[in-house]
Point group: D2
Chain length 313, copies 4
């Protein structure tokens, strides 16, 4: 039997809640529901074990991980009625770039550090990467901050035979991939696009942050779809949606003799579950690589990321 | 400049209305809207010309083709306000397998015979194919009746260096391809299907016939989607929809830790336009082949057909 | 404090499951969620107590009521993880009109008999009504079978100072009321109806029975909406929906200068919950009346019924 | 036969385009489609005649009214293929509060002045009202600017026996009334609201202006629906929608035992048609009143206005 993969999580938000609850769910039920890859390089979902966790808010630090994941503003729902203590106490995370040594010493043997804090503080992301490097662990950056795209840092991870994966997690099933697939299908059948729109609504803290700074997101979505005819409505932060994300897509096209083809799509997902479903693969890719001494960037991770090395910083 | 491709149409229903109106529309406007392939083997859409038409009802026979296409029960909408006479008078079609010679003599030099009558009378379909063979024309069978799948007949067309294309037209953009694409996308992302349904509503005479004999259609759809979890609701014939077809699709899936993913799709198309958009390609494939002396079945047509040779009769 | 209202239930299907689970839910939680009337004539929801239950299938008879409600083909979901035994054992019900005395003797002091078996066996419904009459209990008929509309029977209940309520339960929130409300709203604003449709999908045993005999239901719905322009698609029985009912409504209207107004509605409800939400009121109306000696038909129940006395049998 | 009602329109935007095209459509066709009230105080739709029009942009001034209504940025669609000249030349409107006398002299005998310019310039709205007063015409203010709510002005109109109607046109069929109706229906059936949202998308110049200043509109909508549980997403300006307005509504409620009831609505309307359908009634109310010498505010207009006198300025 394979040894459990030891993972440290940085950030105890919704994505970590979904990941941690899912690990317990799969261990208890033996289910493979919603699992894209039962094994990644020999590592099953059940082989992943969280051994350390770091957060910043008083509502989480000092609590057992299985209690901290339900502290506000987290709102990913409870998966199972009973969740026994994890046996991992959430430790205080970094507020700036100082404290790298403390973190390195507190990783308690983690082989992979999963960085799952909010985007927008690259200096803190880099500090955690330094801590992983110092402790001999792989580093997975799920935020939009440029870490794996930092060529110097990537070189030092490679030299240390440690994997460095990032940046910016792609969702397991997102609105953009659905919109893209439908537009491609219509084009492949010879239909002419007349107009299209996308409305995104959500209720998480992450979503609230996006709404406060929507332009980058909107621009990135419009770019992804690549057409003047595709309108992206402003993001709508609706707290009562909780961790649910809702999208309305419309595509109007023209077929033979200009005949109308109209397609409306209503999608409901839980973003944190979509993140966890990808994080479980990234962590296993990183774990398998660190165990076999493959350092630096892992190209097989690119399909799971929005901004892998080689894309613009 | 290439000579116009001379086509005879058998059946003056909605599909023929859409085809004929579209030919006028594209000629008048020079538009390429909704055209999957501007050229097929050198033949543009504007190169196709209808030179003969056959129907059975008194409301159509003896009328100019551009008048007959609006006779009841046809309900495909008028594309352009003004449509001058076609100069082609609709002739009386066959009521049984006798009269092949009369038809052969009345094809007025057609290079391609497009068979677009209702499904369910294979002996009549075969009689028209014999007429095409006798007159030296290619034959395209858009109905579900087995014609191109008749190996003996296909051999005789091949021997005469005449193309024989069929059977059963696939729509340019149908519900099944959309449903299949979405189910495949979810599976590719690792989501687990929990349940799905498809509701089809329409208002044409074709649709009314399907409703009267729904089992074959329902079974074929369920087979196409290949899962016990996909339910096909009974077809709904709603005359006020006219030639519009409406589908409601739902897909419920489970992601990480069983998290719900819910997808609802509302599709509106005009079936006759979807048929014409494919017929224009089949006719051009057949026309190019007959001109270059390629007889028998044309494998390049398979993607545009539901039951090409090799599938069950 | 008021005495609990003693109720006997005939039929242990989904509607009884929803009613019984809801009684436990409201007692445990003190919640008023989804309750239209906290008190009916002084009776709160928590005052209703089931003291006897009758069913016919071997999978239910002899079991505790809180176990029997989950037996197949019932599929209303479990409301709460833990449901202690009810202390009421399900008794064998009637298979024909004989056995009235046995039932009357087994009602164990019930003040109200709630008849919640499948529609279509009026002689059995009448037999239970006789048993209630014999035992001095009020009778509530939730099926479409004519019981309260039987003038002779109503007279005998009135003479005995026993209430007789029925027939045919209206849902707390159904598709017809929603469709009707929207059509009325459009008409009130001066819009002209161009066409409308309604699609109903469900997965219960009740729904399967309706699908097997759809015409009556379809006719009744079309009548309810009163227009040739409103099409009712065939009912779709989709087992994977469980007790969920799904409706798709569309309304196309025309406003100023014929301008299009288009309205699409997607409704998801659980039919058994919609039934229980009305049954709780009928039972309390009947209970208050029987306690105050008001017999015969209760006009205040009419709004909760589809076919009260005075409508066609 | 009644004399035609002489109307002057201020502003030649989409709403005026819809009104003017509709007047021609109803005159040509004799249709009553989409007409809430065939007669208002004896005045039929066909009795209304536009005798003067004022605009500010060079693209409209000096043109025949039937040409000017199609000038950019107007994008209400063409109702009929052929629209002969109106015989009314668009005159230059006001840019500030000077020029009242010129306008009064150019109303060419109008009995009613319909003020249909963009909101946000109250001093100009008031100047046109003064011009109407000076010329002895009724005044209808369809903008949100306080005109009819100006008590001094209303008194002067009353003293002159001239009607003054306003402010802020309600749409013939809007999102708010639909949302309100559905929430009321659920409440009436005893369901408990769990959460709701409303998304509004549009492509007109009016909509672009609202997006630039969304807070007032959003606040007014939230107030109209009166609940913290109802979220209003930011308005989405999507130019390719043209004059079409699209709304997505969702209502999540709970019924018996907390059972979920879910309602999704997709509405498509043309805002300018919704405005014209109400303007035709306001104009006739004002016309009938001016002819019978009833001056000042007309209470029967209140149901067609968002901010009649008595509501906050």
């Amino acid at each position: 039997m394979i040894d459990s993969l030891r993972v440290a999580v940085i950030g105890v938000g919704n994505n970590t809640s979904a990941l941690v609850q899912g690990l317990a769910f799969y261990r208890n039920t033996g289910s493979l529901i919603g699992i894209a890859r039962p094994e990644v390089d020999g590592l099953a979902v059940g082989d992943v074990r969280v051994v350390a966790a770091f957060a910043r808010s008083d509502g989480k630090v000092g609590k057992d991980l299985h209690e901290a994941i339900f502290a506000a503003p987290n709102n990913f729902p409870r998966v199972e009625a009973d969740l026994p203590p994890a046996g991992v106490t959430v430790q205080r995370g970094l507020f700036d770039a100082t404290g790298i040594e403390r973190i390195a010493g507190a990783l308690t043997g983690a082989e992979v550090v999963l960085y799952s804090a909010p985007s927008g503080r690259p200096e803190i992301a880099l500090a955690y990467a330094e801590a992983a490097l110092a402790a001999g662990a792989a580093f997975v950056n799920t935020t939009a901050d440029p870490v794996a795209r930092d060529a110097g840092l990537a070189g030092r991870f490679a030299a240390a035979a440690l994997p460095l994966i990032g940046d910016d997690l792609a969702s397991q099933f997102g609105v953009s991939v659905l919109h893209r697939t439908l537009l491609d299908l219509l084009a492949a059948r010879g239909l002419t696009l007349a107009g299209s729109y996308q409305v995104n609504l959500g209720g998480t803290e992450d979503f609230r942050n996006l709404v406060a700074n929507p332009d980058a997101k909107k621009r990135s979505k419009a770019n992804a779809l690549g057409s003047d005819l595709v309108g992206i409505a402003p993001l709508g932060y609706l707290p009562h949606l909780g961790s649910q994300k809702i999208a309305h897509l419309n595509i109007e096209a023209r077929g033979w003799a200009g005949s109308a083809v109209s397609l409306d799509v209503h999608l409901k997902v839980h973003d944190p579950a979509g993140a966890a479903g990808v994080n479980i693969d990234l962590v296993r890719l990183a774990g398998a690589a660190v165990r076999s001494g493959r350092g630096g960037y892992l190209p097989e991770a690119a399909a799971l990321l929005k901004s892998p090395p080689g894309t613009a910083v």
